[in-house]
Point group: C2
Amino acid sequence: MKFDRKPIPVTDAVAKVMEYERFGGWEEVAIDQCENRILAEGITASHPIPPFNKSPYDGFALKAEDTAEAGSDKPVTFRVIEQVGAGHQSSRAIEHGEAVRIMTGAEIPEGADCVAMFEICQTYEEDSMDYMTIKRQMEKGQNIIEKGSETSLGDVLVNKGTRINPGVKALLATFGYPTVKVGKKPVIGLFATGTELLDVDEELQPGKIRNSNAYMIAAQIERAGGHVKYYGKLEDDFDTCYQAVSRAFSEVDALITTGGVSVGDFDLMPDIYDKLGAEVLFNKIAMRPGSVTTVAEKDGKLLFGLSGNPSACYVGFELYAYPVIQRFAGVEKPYHRKIDAVLGKDFPKPNPFTRFVRGFIHYEDGKVLVSPAGMDKSAVVTTLANTDALIMLPGGTRGFKAGDAVQAILLEDPSGQAAFK
Amino acid sequence: MKFDRKPIPVTDAVAKVMEYERFGGWEEVAIDQCENRILAEGITASHPIPPFNKSPYDGFALKAEDTAEAGSDKPVTFRVIEQVGAGHQSSRAIEHGEAVRIMTGAEIPEGADCVAMFEICQTYEEDSMDYMTIKRQMEKGQNIIEKGSETSLGDVLVNKGTRINPGVKALLATFGYPTVKVGKKPVIGLFATGTELLDVDEELQPGKIRNSNAYMIAAQIERAGGHVKYYGKLEDDFDTCYQAVSRAFSEVDALITTGGVSVGDFDLMPDIYDKLGAEVLFNKIAMRPGSVTTVAEKDGKLLFGLSGNPSACYVGFELYAYPVIQRFAGVEKPYHRKIDAVLGKDFPKPNPFTRFVRGFIHYEDGKVLVSPAGMDKSAVVTTLANTDALIMLPGGTRGFKAGDAVQAILLEDPSGQAAFK
């Protein structure tokens, strides 16, 4: 048994893990399969937007100077030479005294320099010819959306490393990407350990509980942008365990185990790391819950030994595995967004170590509050259902009061941040 | 042409649409396929948590009263009768003077009422028997997590209508749900209209633009929890259009079209609604962008006629289609969360109508700010990439200044709210 572990600060632990972060390379996916994936290349405007001068309204395109004499009692008359719908072009340039009936989104005919809206024009027909009169003066450029006024050719619109949301997808479509290069999802292997664990479809038995960590972590891996490969439960026998872990490790981009990293007699993971020849980056962190979280590295690949305790497991994943998965997938800002918030409820329990309390975000009159999601007993699984943030309470001798300034780590906000600070 | 449309307020429009909201029924999915789906039934504790008295530490289980005489110079000795790991049970109840070596998570043996941590105990062996001495007095109940202390049998833990996050998944596993009843995803049909639209893989042509709305809306439908059925572009010909819309409408739970709802000569949707026998709930809303957003209903099924303008289309979807999709899928709080926030940047342009400005949320010193994501020209597609909120600016004669209190609609926050207000 190894009682002599030295706890390291959370920021040091994160830094040690991130020494081994790497980008997993890209793959090409169809535009209709790319939601929430990460752009492996930025999007540059391959044409101006709009690509031509266009009309924002239904109306008549004409030369503004032709309306110079118009007034409320002096209508000016134009001959309507044709009609242009969106997607079409006029057949020729317009001359003085001519107008083109134009639809929203259609290209402004050559020679025209303004659009008079339908509503201010009168139309009539005479000798099978269409005419239009207007009693107002128009200005050059009026009601014309100029070519390139929204985006110029060559503008960088979205950087690589950006998550694809509906807006980014609209850009991809606009600039003609039927397929798009996105970061590959890392394959994350997952083992649960613990003789006490039953499968989800087994009846409860004396002394045993169902394995909830594996399903929880699998969901966290998916949420982080990884692909889960679940290897099931590790047996108690060391050799069997070692073989299973060793084989799995060769098949994945990173491996997560839950349980077995403590100092108990049945905690096999430390010896497995030894035999694998993996370097243990740390095996004790100055935090609660999750102090026994262990991370090891072999050939640049990471093994995350998360605690068997549900809360500790949850927190350990979000702090140490999440940013590695994000970076692998190509995210530019791999860390959870951390914000200054107002504590919404007393948390009277002092703690010598940094504590990550499961909480939820709420808003009030322009303020952002974070409140504990429930009692923070380290084994309480029920609280996690309401959790969308971790309240980061620094260690010390005092508790915290509602209204105190605290930091909150946002677990469901995809914006992220570039550094863990 | 119908110029005589009467604009209705946004809240009225939402209310009219939601008269036709309905739950789409449930289906059973495997626990490892249920991420982000909506619980069709609440989760009730089918056993207490923990299901038995258990040890939070590695240590020795014993009777506290047996340590009554212990002191720093008065060690009390126990005979260690066996060892119990997590998932196992002791073979018999302990008697006075006896202790059981117990591991974290293991069931407390009958007869024991406290656990002394390893670190405060001395062990030795004599005549092939194991002994343990302790110099401290223990209290009854010390270091025991009592059966049911986290959750009692029958506790309602999560309500139906809740989105399944990693924490909810842990609960499902804990209480033995290999499959789970979730709300069905609505099938949302999608058409784009507009002769000016090119497909994403076509070369740009004079007067034309690529169809970005369809891809954007498809992504919005997926984000809202719907399943997209894309029917492609509608032709210009009325009869062909009518046939296509009519057939599609019979195959989906709701139908979305983009474009064709304006008052232009080529806007066919109003006549299609007529011929379908659909009742138009409204065709003009007192809002910008998106004033021409039209919603019609037939046999309790909805047709959303969104504007062809990208921003108007985006906003129209999030305000009117999103809550319908959420409710169909079983979400209890179907509306986007709307919060009081602080405007982060001037928005000087006054507007007579309620304006929904695309923006993004940021945080500063416990305050929640929302800033415009870019210029809010109604056709600017590039801004949408940075958008995760809509800033709701009431109509009036003045602009808005940084620091003003405004409302923000959160587009990527899954919490939701029960009413649109």
